[in-house]
Symmetry: C2
Subunit: 145 residues, 2 copies
């Protein structure tokens, strides 16, 4: 009796997610190339664009980075004068992050690029498919927590 072939990797949800994520991220990175900014920094600037201070913990969660990774990325962004730290007066363990004017300006340029990517996807992939996919992903994320 022949050995049963195992389910191909391309049928695993985990693999499909990784593949789709990699591809979309690459395309976004390509668009960001001219600004020389990695996708993670766009996320950070975007989250900070509400003008409110966000603690490192909040931010790490929101931008999908581990604490130490975020700390070091923020160090670089501080060097580039995109963001700055303020100690939280109410809880001095915390550090509140803010976006500088330079950071806000960059965020706007990156937002344009990201929106143009979204438009491109919606066009080539279809509005309905895009909306359905987003909805399913949101629901998966919610269930997975």
């Amino acid at each position: 009796m022949a050995k049963s072939p195992s389910k191909p990797i391309t049928e695993h949800l985990a693999y499909l997610l990784a593949q789709a994520n990699r591809e979309i991220n690459r395309q976004l990175d390509a668009r960001f190339r001219k600004e020389g900014v990695p996708v993670e920094q766009w996320r950070i600037l975007k989250v900070l664009s509400d003008g409110k201070g966000h603690s490192m913990g909040e931010l790490a969660e929101a931008v999908l980075l581990n604490h130490p990774t975020l700390t070091k990325m923020v160090d670089r962004m501080v060097s580039d004068a995109l963001v700055y730290r303020v100690q939280d007066a109410d809880d001095r363990r915390k550090v509140l992050m803010f976006s500088s004017d330079r950071g806000k300006a960059l965020a706007q340029r990156l937002n344009s690029l990201a929106l143009s990517q979204e438009a491109f996807i919606a066009e080539n992939y279809g509005n309905k498919a895009t909306a359905d996919l987003k909805r399913l992903l949101e629901s998966l994320i919610e269930k997975a927590n």
Copy 2:
């Protein structure tokens, strides 16, 4: 006139994909913990489980890793006697990768863990939603190439 708030990051497809991927990958990693093997090595072992030799190029594409990253991961796996290299006789620029018996045995254990994750997801998230999501991801990946 108030500054128009930009579209929240949680509504970007790129972000939703990154978030879902991160979450699902974490859960899979947690299951693999007891074998002490990262998800990428599962992918490699799985692709090699057809018994045919796969070149590094093919493999890199299939397992979603850059060439140099794959080379170094394979180095580790060779040290662990999970895979081995054979120079391709037909094209001596190429290296063909094979899984060892040890690698095959590990692959089977990892497959079980991965399948059990799939089952868990299908159960909590719904069979239809899971199938729909996979279909949409496949189609996105296809379009994005």
